[in-house]
């Protein structure tokens, strides 16, 4: 009987091609999570891969520059502000807040499973 394994926060970084925008989102989040000192697993992909990516393993958050095919029921952030600068601070703060809440819940869940 031990603690449930503590998984990093799993974030999908999504854009139309799964190439340029996803890479920018990935890099931004890498730094953001490092500053928060919250372990993260970042995965890049294209909008069309969303269903597969979402089914393959538990996803905690989605940050995307293209429209998602549907709502996925996890915190999702449209990351256009990374290109335009407009609303960038608010978006990043929203992501930080969501990351803290997700991590706090994981810690809680891990603590309970003893």
């Amino acid at each position: 009987m031990g603690k449930k394994d503590l998984e990093p926060v799993h974030v999908l970084c999504i854009c139309g091609t799964g190439v340029a925008g996803a890479a920018i989102v990935h890099e931004t989040l890498r730094t953001l999570f490092a500053e928060l000192k919250i372990p993260v697993q970042l995965e890049t992909g294209a909008s069309i891969q969303m269903e597969t990516l979402f089914e393959t393993s538990h996803v905690d958050m989605i940050v995307h520059t293209s429209i998602l095919p549907r709502k996925f029921g996890v915190p999702s952030f449209l990351a256009i502000p990374l290109y335009t600068g407009i609303g960038e601070k608010e978006m990043l703060e929203g992501i930080r807040q969501a990351a803290r809440e997700i991590w706090a819940k994981k810690l809680d869940d891990a603590g309970e499973a003893q």
Binding site: A20, A23, A34, L42, T44, T84, G85, I86
Partner: protein, 169 residues
């Protein structure tokens, strides 16, 4: 690309040699529409050996599905691109339009952007080019860079702005 990140981000180097080039810049570009603007700029990349012949068609097709128009503070811009398979080496062709051209707005179906600046991105490998892409995003966010691109008078001026590492908000 799937990674597990611990707490300290490693240092990375920004490699933008040959990505921006005066040969890849068109000022006062005349184009009727987004497709025409993309094809003009794709021609520069093709001539200079950055992309395959099929690149232009692929970018035009992708732009229809996933538009790249961005309403920046001082001007409208667009960053059309396509999958790395069409690219031979990473480069960016920059066009400043004589008359703004309509692009669909990225992430906002039904909305459009009247674009004066088009950056046609040829990305060979997003993983290894991520700093270059971050650099472009920083440039686009910067009102200072936006102003300089609007008032640039030569292709060399444009390249100097695109390459500048001191990007101020």
């Amino acid at each position: 690309m799937a990674t597990s990140t611990q707490f300290t981000p490693p240092e990375r180097h920004l490699d933008i040699d040959h990505v921006f080039d005066a040969r890849l810049v068109l000022l006062d570009l005349e184009a009727q529409n987004a497709e025409a603007a993309i094809r003009e700029l794709a021609g520069l990349l093709l001539e200079a050996g950055y992309v395959r012949g099929t690149f232009a068609d692929a970018v035009v097709a992708r732009e229809k599905d996933f538009p790249t128009g961005l309403q920046l503070k001082l001007l409208g811009a667009a960053i059309p691109h396509t999958y790395p398979t069409y690219v031979l080496k990473t480069g960016v062709a920059a066009g400043r339009l004589a008359h703004p051209v309509t692009f669909g707005a990225m992430g906002s179906p039904g909305q459009t952007v009247s674009a004066t600046l088009v950056l046609l991105l040829a990305v060979k490998d997003a993983d290894s080019q991520v700093e270059m892409l971050q650099h472009i995003a920083e440039l686009l966010r910067s009102e200072d860079a936006q102003g300089k691109l609007i008032s640039a008078r030569t292709a060399e001026d444009v390249v100097a702005v695109l390459e500048s590492r001191e990007v101020h908000a």
